[in-house]
Protein backbone atom coordinates (compact mmCIF):
# COMPACT_ATOMS: atom_id res chain seq x y z
CA UNK A 1 0.00 0.00 0.00
CA UNK A 2 1.31 3.40 -0.90
CA UNK A 3 1.34 5.81 2.00
CA UNK A 4 0.87 9.47 1.15
CA UNK A 5 1.10 10.53 4.76
CA UNK A 6 4.32 8.96 6.08
CA UNK A 7 4.76 11.48 8.87
CA UNK A 8 1.43 10.85 10.58
CA UNK A 9 0.63 8.15 13.08
CA UNK A 10 3.13 6.08 15.02
CA UNK A 11 6.65 4.80 14.34
CA UNK A 12 7.76 2.53 11.49
CA UNK A 13 7.87 -0.53 13.77
CA UNK A 14 4.24 -0.08 14.75
CA UNK A 15 3.23 0.47 11.14
CA UNK A 16 5.00 -2.66 9.94
CA UNK A 17 3.41 -4.84 12.59
CA UNK A 18 0.03 -3.23 12.02
CA UNK A 19 0.19 -4.26 8.40
CA UNK A 20 -0.03 -7.89 9.52
CA UNK A 21 -2.19 -7.66 12.61
CA UNK A 22 -4.94 -5.56 11.11
CA UNK A 23 -5.97 -8.38 8.78
CA UNK A 24 -5.87 -10.89 11.60
CA UNK A 25 -8.16 -8.73 13.70
CA UNK A 26 -10.49 -8.17 10.77
CA UNK A 27 -10.68 -11.88 9.96
CA UNK A 28 -11.23 -12.73 13.61
CA UNK A 29 -14.17 -10.33 13.63
CA UNK A 30 -15.66 -11.98 10.56
CA UNK A 31 -15.15 -15.43 12.11
CA UNK A 32 -16.97 -14.33 15.27
CA UNK A 33 -19.87 -13.04 13.19
CA UNK A 34 -20.24 -16.06 10.94
CA UNK A 35 -20.04 -18.51 13.86
CA UNK A 36 -22.39 -16.42 15.98
CA UNK A 37 -24.97 -19.19 16.26
CA UNK A 38 -22.39 -21.90 17.00
CA UNK A 39 -19.94 -20.34 19.43
CA UNK A 40 -19.88 -17.28 21.72
CA UNK A 41 -20.07 -14.00 19.89
CA UNK A 42 -22.32 -12.65 17.22
CA UNK A 43 -23.09 -9.55 15.28
CA UNK A 44 -22.36 -7.04 18.01
CA UNK A 45 -19.05 -8.48 19.18
CA UNK A 46 -17.91 -9.14 15.63
CA UNK A 47 -18.98 -5.69 14.48
CA UNK A 48 -16.98 -4.04 17.22
CA UNK A 49 -13.93 -6.15 16.38
CA UNK A 50 -14.23 -5.11 12.73
CA UNK A 51 -14.52 -1.49 13.85
CA UNK A 52 -11.50 -1.99 16.11
CA UNK A 53 -9.43 -3.22 13.18
CA UNK A 54 -10.13 0.09 11.45
CA UNK A 55 -9.40 1.95 14.68
CA UNK A 56 -6.12 0.06 14.89
CA UNK A 57 -5.21 1.18 11.38
CA UNK A 58 -6.20 4.75 12.13
CA UNK A 59 -4.13 4.88 15.31
CA UNK A 60 -1.06 3.45 13.60
CA UNK A 61 -1.17 5.28 10.28
CA UNK A 62 -3.07 8.48 11.06
CA UNK A 63 -6.57 9.32 9.98
CA UNK A 64 -5.76 10.75 6.56
CA UNK A 65 -4.29 7.46 5.42
CA UNK A 66 -7.53 5.68 6.22
CA UNK A 67 -9.80 8.39 4.96
CA UNK A 68 -8.07 8.31 1.58
CA UNK A 69 -9.25 4.73 1.20
CA UNK A 70 -12.72 4.73 2.70
CA UNK A 71 -15.53 7.13 2.01
CA UNK A 72 -17.36 8.50 5.03
CA UNK A 73 -20.48 9.20 3.02
CA UNK A 74 -20.55 5.66 1.68
CA UNK A 75 -19.96 4.23 5.16
CA UNK A 76 -22.90 6.17 6.48
CA UNK A 77 -25.07 4.94 3.60
CA UNK A 78 -24.03 1.33 4.12
CA UNK A 79 -24.88 1.65 7.78
CA UNK A 80 -28.35 2.93 6.94
CA UNK A 81 -28.84 0.21 4.32
CA UNK A 82 -27.93 -2.48 6.84
CA UNK A 83 -30.41 -1.01 9.30
CA UNK A 84 -33.13 -0.93 6.62
CA UNK A 85 -32.36 -4.55 5.73
CA UNK A 86 -32.93 -5.61 9.33
CA UNK A 87 -36.36 -3.96 9.32
CA UNK A 88 -37.11 -5.47 5.90
CA UNK A 89 -36.24 -8.91 7.28
CA UNK A 90 -38.89 -8.27 9.87
CA UNK A 91 -41.37 -7.26 7.18
CA UNK A 92 -40.66 -10.37 5.13
CA UNK A 93 -41.32 -12.37 8.27
CA UNK A 94 -44.57 -10.48 8.73
CA UNK A 95 -45.58 -11.23 5.15
CA UNK A 96 -44.62 -14.90 5.17
CA UNK A 97 -45.65 -16.02 8.65
CA UNK A 98 -47.92 -13.27 9.92
CA UNK A 99 -45.62 -12.31 12.79
CA UNK A 100 -43.34 -9.29 12.75
CA UNK A 101 -39.67 -10.35 12.72
CA UNK A 102 -40.52 -14.05 12.60
CA UNK A 103 -38.15 -16.63 11.20
CA UNK A 104 -39.12 -17.40 7.60
CA UNK A 105 -36.18 -19.59 6.59
CA UNK A 106 -35.59 -23.28 7.12
CA UNK A 107 -33.91 -24.14 10.39
CA UNK A 108 -31.51 -26.63 8.86
CA UNK A 109 -29.40 -29.09 10.76
CA UNK A 110 -28.26 -28.25 14.27
CA UNK A 111 -24.49 -27.84 14.81
CA UNK A 112 -23.78 -26.95 11.17
CA UNK A 113 -22.63 -23.63 9.78
CA UNK A 114 -25.57 -23.08 7.42
CA UNK A 115 -28.42 -23.46 9.88
CA UNK A 116 -30.57 -21.58 12.36
CA UNK A 117 -32.77 -19.83 9.80
CA UNK A 118 -32.26 -16.10 9.56
CA UNK A 119 -29.84 -15.82 12.50
CA UNK A 120 -26.57 -15.83 10.47
CA UNK A 121 -28.02 -13.33 8.01
CA UNK A 122 -29.08 -10.97 10.78
CA UNK A 123 -25.69 -11.36 12.41
CA UNK A 124 -24.05 -10.15 9.22
CA UNK A 125 -26.38 -7.16 8.91
CA UNK A 126 -25.79 -6.22 12.54
CA UNK A 127 -22.03 -6.60 12.10
CA UNK A 128 -22.02 -4.25 9.09
CA UNK A 129 -24.18 -1.71 10.88
CA UNK A 130 -22.29 -1.77 14.17
CA UNK A 131 -18.87 -1.85 12.55
CA UNK A 132 -19.49 1.10 10.25
CA UNK A 133 -21.33 3.13 12.85
CA UNK A 134 -18.83 2.71 15.65
CA UNK A 135 -15.88 3.42 13.44
CA UNK A 136 -17.52 6.67 12.33
CA UNK A 137 -18.21 7.62 15.94
CA UNK A 138 -14.57 7.02 16.80
CA UNK A 139 -13.46 9.02 13.78
CA UNK A 140 -15.68 12.01 14.53
CA UNK A 141 -14.96 12.10 18.25
CA UNK A 142 -11.22 11.68 17.84
CA UNK A 143 -10.79 14.16 15.02
CA UNK A 144 -13.06 16.90 16.35
CA UNK A 145 -11.03 20.09 16.50
CA UNK A 146 -12.16 22.41 19.28
CA UNK A 147 -10.62 25.37 17.49
CA UNK A 148 -12.99 25.19 14.54
CA UNK A 149 -16.51 26.52 14.56
Amino acid sequence: MQNNFPNEGMSVIVKTITRFTVWLIFLYGLYIVIHGHLSPGGGFAGGVIVALSYVHLTLAYGKNFVMERVNKFAMNSIEAIAAILIVLTGLVGLYVTGYFLANFMGIGKLYTLISAGYIPMLNIFICVKVGMGLYLVFYYLASFKPQEG
Binding site: A80, I84, G90, G93, L94, L101, A102
Partner: protein, 501 residues
Protein backbone atom coordinates in the same frame (compact mmCIF):
# COMPACT_ATOMS: atom_id res chain seq x y z
CA UNK B 1 -50.50 -7.04 12.17
CA UNK B 2 -51.71 -3.49 12.55
CA UNK B 3 -49.56 -2.84 15.60
CA UNK B 4 -46.15 -3.37 14.09
CA UNK B 5 -46.86 -0.46 11.73
CA UNK B 6 -46.46 1.93 14.60
CA UNK B 7 -42.89 0.72 14.95
CA UNK B 8 -41.62 0.02 11.48
CA UNK B 9 -43.12 2.99 9.64
CA UNK B 10 -41.30 5.68 11.65
CA UNK B 11 -38.23 3.46 11.89
CA UNK B 12 -38.02 2.97 8.14
CA UNK B 13 -38.67 6.68 7.68
CA UNK B 14 -35.71 7.53 9.92
CA UNK B 15 -33.39 5.10 8.17
CA UNK B 16 -34.53 6.26 4.73
CA UNK B 17 -33.93 9.87 5.66
CA UNK B 18 -30.35 9.04 6.61
CA UNK B 19 -29.90 7.09 3.39
CA UNK B 20 -31.60 9.36 0.88
CA UNK B 21 -31.93 12.85 2.24
CA UNK B 22 -28.38 13.81 3.14
CA UNK B 23 -27.77 15.54 -0.17
CA UNK B 24 -31.34 16.70 -0.86
CA UNK B 25 -32.58 17.93 2.46
CA UNK B 26 -36.13 18.70 1.41
CA UNK B 27 -36.88 15.02 0.91
CA UNK B 28 -36.37 14.56 4.65
CA UNK B 29 -39.39 16.69 5.47
CA UNK B 30 -41.54 14.87 2.91
CA UNK B 31 -40.64 11.44 4.26
CA UNK B 32 -41.12 12.48 7.87
CA UNK B 33 -44.46 14.10 7.18
CA UNK B 34 -45.70 11.12 5.22
CA UNK B 35 -44.72 8.74 8.02
CA UNK B 36 -46.40 10.97 10.64
CA UNK B 37 -49.58 11.15 8.56
CA UNK B 38 -49.58 7.38 8.13
CA UNK B 39 -49.27 6.84 11.87
CA UNK B 40 -51.99 9.40 12.57
CA UNK B 41 -54.42 7.61 10.26
CA UNK B 42 -53.52 4.15 11.54
CA UNK B 43 -53.84 5.25 15.15
CA UNK B 44 -57.42 6.37 14.50
CA UNK B 45 -58.19 3.16 12.63
CA UNK B 46 -56.80 1.15 15.54
CA UNK B 47 -58.83 3.17 18.02
CA UNK B 48 -62.10 2.53 16.22
CA UNK B 49 -61.32 -1.13 15.49
CA UNK B 50 -60.51 -1.84 19.11
CA UNK B 51 -64.06 -2.44 20.46
CA UNK B 52 -64.61 -5.12 17.82
CA UNK B 53 -61.63 -7.04 19.24
CA UNK B 54 -62.96 -6.95 22.77
CA UNK B 55 -60.80 -4.06 23.86
CA UNK B 56 -57.46 -5.79 23.43
CA UNK B 57 -55.32 -6.53 20.40
CA UNK B 58 -52.22 -8.58 21.11
CA UNK B 59 -49.61 -9.26 18.45
CA UNK B 60 -46.69 -11.51 19.25
CA UNK B 61 -43.42 -10.82 17.53
CA UNK B 62 -41.19 -13.49 16.04
CA UNK B 63 -43.87 -16.17 15.96
CA UNK B 64 -43.68 -17.50 19.55
CA UNK B 65 -46.12 -16.96 22.33
CA UNK B 66 -45.61 -14.80 25.39
CA UNK B 67 -43.87 -15.09 27.83
CA UNK B 68 -41.28 -16.57 25.46
CA UNK B 69 -41.30 -13.54 23.22
CA UNK B 70 -42.28 -9.90 23.30
CA UNK B 71 -45.80 -8.89 22.49
CA UNK B 72 -47.25 -5.65 21.25
CA UNK B 73 -50.42 -4.93 23.21
CA UNK B 74 -53.05 -2.40 22.29
CA UNK B 75 -55.75 -1.69 24.81
CA UNK B 76 -57.94 1.34 25.34
CA UNK B 77 -55.31 3.32 27.24
CA UNK B 78 -52.46 2.68 24.83
CA UNK B 79 -54.66 3.33 21.81
CA UNK B 80 -55.61 6.68 23.31
CA UNK B 81 -51.96 7.53 23.99
CA UNK B 82 -51.04 6.63 20.41
CA UNK B 83 -53.58 9.13 19.13
CA UNK B 84 -52.21 11.88 21.38
CA UNK B 85 -48.63 11.18 20.28
CA UNK B 86 -49.57 11.03 16.60
CA UNK B 87 -51.52 14.30 16.67
CA UNK B 88 -48.75 16.24 18.36
CA UNK B 89 -46.07 14.57 16.23
CA UNK B 90 -47.88 15.36 12.99
CA UNK B 91 -48.37 19.03 13.74
CA UNK B 92 -44.86 19.44 15.14
CA UNK B 93 -43.43 17.87 11.99
CA UNK B 94 -45.60 20.11 9.84
CA UNK B 95 -44.48 23.15 11.79
CA UNK B 96 -40.82 22.13 11.53
CA UNK B 97 -40.80 22.17 7.72
CA UNK B 98 -40.21 25.89 7.72
CA UNK B 99 -39.11 26.50 11.29
CA UNK B 100 -36.03 24.35 10.85
CA UNK B 101 -34.74 26.58 8.06
CA UNK B 102 -33.00 28.60 10.75
CA UNK B 103 -30.84 25.60 11.64
CA UNK B 104 -28.35 23.49 9.74
CA UNK B 105 -28.69 19.73 9.44
CA UNK B 106 -32.32 19.39 8.44
CA UNK B 107 -31.99 15.65 7.78
CA UNK B 108 -30.48 15.02 11.20
CA UNK B 109 -33.42 16.78 12.74
CA UNK B 110 -36.09 14.80 10.94
CA UNK B 111 -34.30 11.47 11.38
CA UNK B 112 -33.98 12.02 15.13
CA UNK B 113 -37.56 13.23 15.25
CA UNK B 114 -38.82 10.02 13.69
CA UNK B 115 -36.65 7.95 16.03
CA UNK B 116 -38.17 9.76 18.97
CA UNK B 117 -41.65 8.94 17.68
CA UNK B 118 -40.58 5.31 17.27
CA UNK B 119 -39.35 5.21 20.84
CA UNK B 120 -42.56 6.64 22.21
CA UNK B 121 -44.76 4.31 20.16
CA UNK B 122 -42.65 1.40 21.32
CA UNK B 123 -43.03 2.38 24.96
CA UNK B 124 -46.78 2.70 24.55
CA UNK B 125 -47.29 -0.60 22.77
CA UNK B 126 -44.92 -2.90 24.56
CA UNK B 127 -46.02 -5.59 26.96
CA UNK B 128 -42.57 -6.38 28.27
CA UNK B 129 -40.50 -4.71 30.97
CA UNK B 130 -37.13 -4.86 29.29
CA UNK B 131 -38.54 -3.80 25.96
CA UNK B 132 -40.01 -0.78 27.71
CA UNK B 133 -36.51 0.11 28.85
CA UNK B 134 -35.02 -0.30 25.37
CA UNK B 135 -37.60 1.87 23.64
CA UNK B 136 -37.43 4.40 26.44
CA UNK B 137 -33.72 4.70 25.73
CA UNK B 138 -34.41 5.27 22.02
CA UNK B 139 -36.77 8.11 22.84
CA UNK B 140 -34.44 9.55 25.46
CA UNK B 141 -31.24 9.41 23.42
CA UNK B 142 -32.90 11.13 20.50
CA UNK B 143 -34.30 13.66 22.95
CA UNK B 144 -30.81 14.39 24.36
CA UNK B 145 -29.48 14.95 20.87
CA UNK B 146 -32.43 17.11 19.86
CA UNK B 147 -32.16 19.29 22.97
CA UNK B 148 -28.59 20.08 21.91
CA UNK B 149 -29.63 20.57 18.30
CA UNK B 150 -28.73 24.26 18.11
CA UNK B 151 -25.25 23.51 19.60
CA UNK B 152 -25.15 26.75 21.55
CA UNK B 153 -23.45 26.69 24.94
CA UNK B 154 -26.63 26.68 27.03
CA UNK B 155 -28.24 24.03 24.89
CA UNK B 156 -25.29 21.67 25.19
CA UNK B 157 -25.19 22.18 28.91
CA UNK B 158 -28.91 21.53 29.28
CA UNK B 159 -28.60 18.40 27.18
CA UNK B 160 -25.69 17.16 29.29
CA UNK B 161 -27.66 17.72 32.46
CA UNK B 162 -30.66 15.91 30.98
CA UNK B 163 -28.46 13.06 29.74
CA UNK B 164 -26.79 12.64 33.12
CA UNK B 165 -30.03 12.52 35.05
CA UNK B 166 -31.74 10.41 32.41
CA UNK B 167 -28.92 7.89 32.35
CA UNK B 168 -28.77 7.58 36.15
CA UNK B 169 -32.49 6.95 36.47
CA UNK B 170 -32.63 4.62 33.47
CA UNK B 171 -30.02 2.50 35.19
CA UNK B 172 -32.19 2.53 38.31
CA UNK B 173 -35.12 1.26 36.26
CA UNK B 174 -32.95 -1.51 34.85
CA UNK B 175 -31.91 -2.48 38.37
CA UNK B 176 -35.57 -2.64 39.35
CA UNK B 177 -36.32 -4.83 36.35
CA UNK B 178 -33.47 -7.12 37.40
CA UNK B 179 -34.90 -7.48 40.91
CA UNK B 180 -38.34 -8.24 39.50
CA UNK B 181 -36.82 -10.83 37.19
CA UNK B 182 -35.01 -12.54 40.02
CA UNK B 183 -38.30 -12.87 41.81
CA UNK B 184 -40.61 -13.91 38.99
CA UNK B 185 -38.26 -15.27 36.32
CA UNK B 186 -40.18 -13.55 33.55
CA UNK B 187 -40.20 -10.19 31.84
CA UNK B 188 -43.69 -10.04 30.37
CA UNK B 189 -45.64 -7.48 32.38
CA UNK B 190 -48.79 -9.55 32.72
CA UNK B 191 -46.82 -12.62 33.70
CA UNK B 192 -44.89 -10.65 36.32
CA UNK B 193 -48.20 -9.53 37.79
CA UNK B 194 -49.48 -13.07 37.75
CA UNK B 195 -46.40 -14.41 39.55
CA UNK B 196 -46.51 -11.64 42.13
CA UNK B 197 -50.12 -12.56 42.84
CA UNK B 198 -49.16 -16.12 43.63
CA UNK B 199 -46.11 -15.37 45.77
CA UNK B 200 -47.50 -12.35 47.63
CA UNK B 201 -45.58 -9.11 48.09
CA UNK B 202 -42.10 -9.49 49.52
CA UNK B 203 -40.19 -6.64 51.16
CA UNK B 204 -38.05 -6.47 48.09
CA UNK B 205 -40.95 -5.07 46.12
CA UNK B 206 -40.68 -1.79 48.00
CA UNK B 207 -37.16 -1.35 46.71
CA UNK B 208 -38.58 -1.90 43.23
CA UNK B 209 -41.30 0.68 43.87
CA UNK B 210 -38.68 3.17 45.00
CA UNK B 211 -36.46 2.58 42.00
CA UNK B 212 -39.39 2.84 39.58
CA UNK B 213 -40.81 5.98 41.18
CA UNK B 214 -37.40 7.65 41.00
CA UNK B 215 -36.87 6.41 37.46
CA UNK B 216 -40.19 7.24 35.90
CA UNK B 217 -40.72 10.23 38.20
CA UNK B 218 -37.65 11.87 36.71
CA UNK B 219 -38.98 11.32 33.22
CA UNK B 220 -42.25 12.88 34.35
CA UNK B 221 -40.35 15.77 36.03
CA UNK B 222 -42.15 15.41 39.35
CA UNK B 223 -40.82 17.89 41.82
CA UNK B 224 -37.75 16.52 43.52
CA UNK B 225 -36.66 15.22 40.12
CA UNK B 226 -37.62 18.24 38.03
CA UNK B 227 -34.29 20.08 37.76
CA UNK B 228 -33.59 19.08 34.17
CA UNK B 229 -36.88 20.14 32.63
CA UNK B 230 -36.70 23.93 32.82
CA UNK B 231 -33.29 23.79 31.14
CA UNK B 232 -33.93 21.08 28.59
CA UNK B 233 -37.35 22.03 27.28
CA UNK B 234 -36.56 25.67 26.49
CA UNK B 235 -33.21 24.78 24.91
CA UNK B 236 -34.67 22.49 22.27
CA UNK B 237 -36.01 23.84 18.98
CA UNK B 238 -39.67 24.84 19.44
CA UNK B 239 -41.30 21.82 17.75
CA UNK B 240 -39.15 19.56 19.90
CA UNK B 241 -40.12 21.48 23.02
CA UNK B 242 -43.70 20.86 21.98
CA UNK B 243 -42.97 17.15 21.61
CA UNK B 244 -41.05 16.93 24.88
CA UNK B 245 -43.55 18.84 26.97
CA UNK B 246 -46.57 17.67 25.06
CA UNK B 247 -46.01 13.96 24.85
CA UNK B 248 -42.55 12.70 25.87
CA UNK B 249 -42.91 13.36 29.59
CA UNK B 250 -46.36 11.82 29.43
CA UNK B 251 -45.46 8.64 27.57
CA UNK B 252 -42.20 7.87 29.35
CA UNK B 253 -43.45 9.19 32.65
CA UNK B 254 -47.18 9.24 33.30
CA UNK B 255 -48.15 6.40 30.97
CA UNK B 256 -45.35 4.14 32.20
CA UNK B 257 -46.19 4.89 35.84
CA UNK B 258 -49.86 4.18 35.28
CA UNK B 259 -49.24 1.03 33.28
CA UNK B 260 -46.78 -0.41 35.77
CA UNK B 261 -48.27 0.66 39.08
CA UNK B 262 -51.94 0.32 38.20
CA UNK B 263 -52.00 -2.57 35.78
CA UNK B 264 -49.13 -4.71 37.02
CA UNK B 265 -48.79 -3.95 40.72
CA UNK B 266 -52.49 -3.21 41.28
CA UNK B 267 -52.17 0.38 42.53
CA UNK B 268 -50.60 -0.12 45.98
CA UNK B 269 -51.77 2.56 48.42
CA UNK B 270 -48.24 3.57 49.43
CA UNK B 271 -47.38 4.44 45.87
CA UNK B 272 -50.60 6.37 45.32
CA UNK B 273 -49.92 8.43 48.44
CA UNK B 274 -46.35 9.17 47.37
CA UNK B 275 -47.54 10.16 43.91
CA UNK B 276 -50.23 12.36 45.47
CA UNK B 277 -47.63 14.16 47.55
CA UNK B 278 -45.21 14.59 44.66
CA UNK B 279 -48.03 15.73 42.37
CA UNK B 280 -49.20 18.39 44.81
CA UNK B 281 -45.63 19.60 45.33
CA UNK B 282 -45.17 19.80 41.56
CA UNK B 283 -48.32 21.85 41.12
CA UNK B 284 -47.30 24.37 43.77
CA UNK B 285 -43.58 24.67 43.09
CA UNK B 286 -43.90 24.58 39.31
CA UNK B 287 -46.66 27.17 39.39
CA UNK B 288 -44.89 29.66 41.63
CA UNK B 289 -41.54 29.30 39.91
CA UNK B 290 -43.06 30.00 36.52
CA UNK B 291 -44.46 33.33 37.74
CA UNK B 292 -40.96 34.72 38.26
CA UNK B 293 -39.54 33.66 34.90
CA UNK B 294 -38.74 36.16 32.16
CA UNK B 295 -37.84 33.68 29.45
CA UNK B 296 -40.96 32.77 27.48
CA UNK B 297 -40.05 29.11 26.96
CA UNK B 298 -38.62 28.63 30.44
CA UNK B 299 -41.88 29.92 31.87
CA UNK B 300 -43.73 27.35 29.81
CA UNK B 301 -41.31 24.67 31.02
CA UNK B 302 -42.09 25.38 34.68
CA UNK B 303 -45.75 25.50 33.75
CA UNK B 304 -45.40 21.96 32.36
CA UNK B 305 -44.13 20.75 35.74
CA UNK B 306 -47.17 22.28 37.37
CA UNK B 307 -49.66 20.90 34.85
CA UNK B 308 -48.18 17.39 34.98
CA UNK B 309 -48.78 17.60 38.72
CA UNK B 310 -52.50 17.97 37.95
CA UNK B 311 -52.42 14.85 35.80
CA UNK B 312 -50.60 12.88 38.47
CA UNK B 313 -52.95 13.83 41.30
CA UNK B 314 -55.86 12.90 39.05
CA UNK B 315 -54.47 9.40 38.66
CA UNK B 316 -53.25 9.15 42.24
CA UNK B 317 -56.73 9.76 43.62
CA UNK B 318 -57.60 6.33 42.32
CA UNK B 319 -61.29 7.16 41.83
CA UNK B 320 -62.95 6.87 38.41
CA UNK B 321 -63.63 10.60 38.31
CA UNK B 322 -60.03 11.44 39.18
CA UNK B 323 -58.70 9.12 36.51
CA UNK B 324 -61.10 10.60 33.97
CA UNK B 325 -59.76 14.02 34.88
CA UNK B 326 -56.18 12.80 34.60
CA UNK B 327 -56.74 11.28 31.17
CA UNK B 328 -58.55 14.35 29.89
CA UNK B 329 -55.92 16.71 31.25
CA UNK B 330 -53.20 14.56 29.69
CA UNK B 331 -54.85 14.91 26.28
CA UNK B 332 -55.72 18.58 26.63
CA UNK B 333 -52.35 19.51 28.05
CA UNK B 334 -50.66 17.80 25.12
CA UNK B 335 -52.63 20.03 22.76
CA UNK B 336 -52.45 23.41 24.44
CA UNK B 337 -48.90 23.10 25.73
CA UNK B 338 -47.61 22.15 22.31
CA UNK B 339 -49.60 25.05 20.90
CA UNK B 340 -48.00 27.45 23.37
CA UNK B 341 -44.50 26.11 22.66
CA UNK B 342 -45.09 26.45 18.94
CA UNK B 343 -46.21 30.03 19.56
CA UNK B 344 -43.08 30.76 21.53
CA UNK B 345 -41.12 29.31 18.62
CA UNK B 346 -42.93 31.63 16.22
CA UNK B 347 -42.07 34.61 18.40
CA UNK B 348 -38.45 33.55 18.50
CA UNK B 349 -38.44 32.91 14.76
CA UNK B 350 -39.78 36.37 14.08
CA UNK B 351 -37.83 38.44 16.61
CA UNK B 352 -34.79 36.29 17.51
CA UNK B 353 -35.44 36.63 21.22
CA UNK B 354 -37.71 35.08 23.78
CA UNK B 355 -36.90 37.38 26.67
CA UNK B 356 -40.20 38.90 27.77
CA UNK B 357 -38.47 42.10 28.88
CA UNK B 358 -37.37 42.81 25.33
CA UNK B 359 -40.62 41.85 23.66
CA UNK B 360 -43.82 43.86 23.63
CA UNK B 361 -46.67 45.04 21.45
CA UNK B 362 -46.36 42.16 19.01
CA UNK B 363 -50.11 41.68 18.62
CA UNK B 364 -50.31 44.00 15.64
CA UNK B 365 -47.50 42.48 13.67
CA UNK B 366 -47.91 38.82 14.57
CA UNK B 367 -51.68 38.56 14.43
CA UNK B 368 -51.96 34.80 14.09
CA UNK B 369 -49.40 34.07 16.78
CA UNK B 370 -51.02 36.50 19.13
CA UNK B 371 -54.49 35.07 18.59
CA UNK B 372 -53.42 31.45 18.97
CA UNK B 373 -51.45 32.28 22.11
CA UNK B 374 -54.59 33.83 23.51
CA UNK B 375 -56.48 30.61 22.81
CA UNK B 376 -53.71 28.60 24.47
CA UNK B 377 -53.71 30.91 27.49
CA UNK B 378 -57.45 30.63 27.95
CA UNK B 379 -57.29 26.85 27.60
CA UNK B 380 -54.44 26.25 30.01
CA UNK B 381 -55.88 28.49 32.68
CA UNK B 382 -59.28 26.83 32.45
CA UNK B 383 -61.66 29.40 31.03
CA UNK B 384 -64.85 27.86 29.61
CA UNK B 385 -65.59 26.76 26.90
CA UNK B 386 -61.93 25.94 26.19
CA UNK B 387 -60.83 22.41 26.95
CA UNK B 388 -58.66 23.05 30.02
CA UNK B 389 -61.71 24.13 31.96
CA UNK B 390 -63.34 20.72 31.87
CA UNK B 391 -60.33 18.66 32.85
CA UNK B 392 -59.33 20.94 35.72
CA UNK B 393 -62.90 21.12 36.95
CA UNK B 394 -63.17 17.34 36.96
CA UNK B 395 -59.86 16.96 38.82
CA UNK B 396 -60.90 19.49 41.46
CA UNK B 397 -64.34 17.93 41.91
CA UNK B 398 -62.72 14.50 42.12
CA UNK B 399 -60.33 15.73 44.81
CA UNK B 400 -63.18 17.08 46.88
CA UNK B 401 -65.43 14.06 46.44
CA UNK B 402 -62.55 11.77 47.41
CA UNK B 403 -62.17 13.68 50.65
CA UNK B 404 -58.88 15.36 49.72
CA UNK B 405 -60.31 18.83 50.26
CA UNK B 406 -56.96 20.50 50.93
CA UNK B 407 -55.50 19.25 47.69
CA UNK B 408 -58.65 20.31 45.85
CA UNK B 409 -58.32 23.83 47.20
CA UNK B 410 -54.61 23.95 46.34
CA UNK B 411 -55.41 22.80 42.80
CA UNK B 412 -58.12 25.43 42.43
CA UNK B 413 -55.87 28.21 43.70
CA UNK B 414 -52.97 27.13 41.51
CA UNK B 415 -55.09 27.24 38.39
CA UNK B 416 -55.57 30.93 39.16
CA UNK B 417 -51.78 31.26 39.38
CA UNK B 418 -51.67 29.60 35.94
CA UNK B 419 -53.81 32.38 34.60
CA UNK B 420 -51.53 34.92 36.28
CA UNK B 421 -48.30 33.79 34.67
CA UNK B 422 -49.81 33.41 31.24
CA UNK B 423 -51.36 36.86 31.45
CA UNK B 424 -47.85 38.05 32.19
CA UNK B 425 -46.81 36.60 28.84
CA UNK B 426 -49.74 38.30 27.14
CA UNK B 427 -48.96 41.62 28.73
CA UNK B 428 -45.24 41.65 28.11
CA UNK B 429 -45.08 39.97 24.73
CA UNK B 430 -48.18 40.76 22.76
CA UNK B 431 -49.80 43.78 24.34
CA UNK B 432 -48.41 46.63 26.38
CA UNK B 433 -45.79 49.00 25.12
CA UNK B 434 -43.42 48.17 22.35
CA UNK B 435 -40.22 46.47 23.41
CA UNK B 436 -36.73 46.71 22.01
CA UNK B 437 -37.08 43.58 19.86
CA UNK B 438 -38.18 44.13 16.29
CA UNK B 439 -40.04 41.78 14.01
CA UNK B 440 -37.37 40.71 11.53
CA UNK B 441 -39.26 38.12 9.57
CA UNK B 442 -42.86 37.10 8.96
CA UNK B 443 -44.07 33.83 10.41
CA UNK B 444 -44.24 31.45 7.43
CA UNK B 445 -47.27 29.54 6.20
CA UNK B 446 -46.60 26.04 7.58
CA UNK B 447 -45.99 27.35 11.07
CA UNK B 448 -49.16 29.44 11.00
CA UNK B 449 -51.25 26.52 9.76
CA UNK B 450 -50.02 24.16 12.45
CA UNK B 451 -50.75 26.76 15.13
CA UNK B 452 -54.21 27.55 13.83
CA UNK B 453 -55.23 23.91 13.64
CA UNK B 454 -53.97 23.21 17.15
CA UNK B 455 -55.83 26.27 18.42
CA UNK B 456 -58.98 24.99 16.75
CA UNK B 457 -58.40 21.62 18.39
CA UNK B 458 -58.33 23.38 21.76
CA UNK B 459 -61.96 24.24 21.19
CA UNK B 460 -63.06 21.16 19.28
CA UNK B 461 -61.61 18.71 21.78
CA UNK B 462 -64.00 20.05 24.39
CA UNK B 463 -66.59 18.08 22.44
CA UNK B 464 -65.29 14.92 24.09
CA UNK B 465 -67.29 16.03 27.08
CA UNK B 466 -70.59 15.46 25.24
CA UNK B 467 -72.13 12.61 27.29
CA UNK B 468 -72.59 10.10 24.47
CA UNK B 469 -69.01 10.43 23.20
CA UNK B 470 -67.74 10.34 26.74
CA UNK B 471 -69.66 7.19 27.49
CA UNK B 472 -68.53 5.36 24.38
CA UNK B 473 -64.92 6.39 24.11
CA UNK B 474 -63.65 7.74 27.42
CA UNK B 475 -65.23 5.34 29.86
CA UNK B 476 -63.46 2.26 28.42
CA UNK B 477 -60.15 4.05 28.96
CA UNK B 478 -61.05 4.86 32.55
CA UNK B 479 -62.11 1.26 33.01
CA UNK B 480 -58.73 0.04 31.74
CA UNK B 481 -56.96 2.05 34.41
CA UNK B 482 -59.54 1.49 37.13
CA UNK B 483 -59.72 -2.21 36.39
CA UNK B 484 -56.18 -2.37 37.77
CA UNK B 485 -54.95 -5.93 37.42
CA UNK B 486 -57.82 -6.94 35.16
CA UNK B 487 -55.21 -6.14 32.51
CA UNK B 488 -53.44 -9.30 33.62
CA UNK B 489 -56.62 -11.35 33.41
CA UNK B 490 -57.22 -10.16 29.88
CA UNK B 491 -53.75 -11.22 28.78
CA UNK B 492 -53.71 -14.47 30.70
CA UNK B 493 -55.41 -16.52 27.92
CA UNK B 494 -52.63 -15.53 25.55
CA UNK B 495 -49.91 -16.81 27.86
CA UNK B 496 -48.23 -20.03 26.81
CA UNK B 497 -48.29 -22.26 29.85
CA UNK B 498 -47.21 -25.42 28.11
CA UNK B 499 -44.78 -27.46 30.13
CA UNK B 500 -41.25 -28.07 28.95
CA UNK B 501 -40.82 -31.06 26.70
Amino acid sequence: MILSQFIFVPLLAAFLIVLVARKKENIAAVIALAACAWILIVSFIAFFKLPAHGGMILNNTSGWKIPYTISLILDNLSSFMLIVVSIVAFFSAFYSIQYINHFTGKWNFFALFMLMVTGMNGVILTGDFFNLYVFMEIALISAYALVAFGTEAEELEAAFKYATMGAITSTMILFGIGILYSYTSTLTMADVGLQLRSVGTPKLIFLVYGLFIAGFGLKTALVPFHAWLPDAHPSAPAPISAMLSGVLIKTLGVYALVRIFFNVFGAPTVVLQILMLLGTLSIVIGGFLSVVQWDFKRLLGFSSISQVGFIIIGFALGTPLGILGGILHLFYHAIFKSLLFLDSGAVEYATDTRDLRQLGGLSKELKVTSATTMVGTLSISGIPPFNGFFSKLIIIIACISAGQIVIGIIAALMSIVTLAYLLKVQKHAFYGKKGSAKVLEKVPFAMKTAMIILAALCLISSAIMIPSIRKNYLNPIVDTVMGKTSYIDKIEPYLDKGSVK
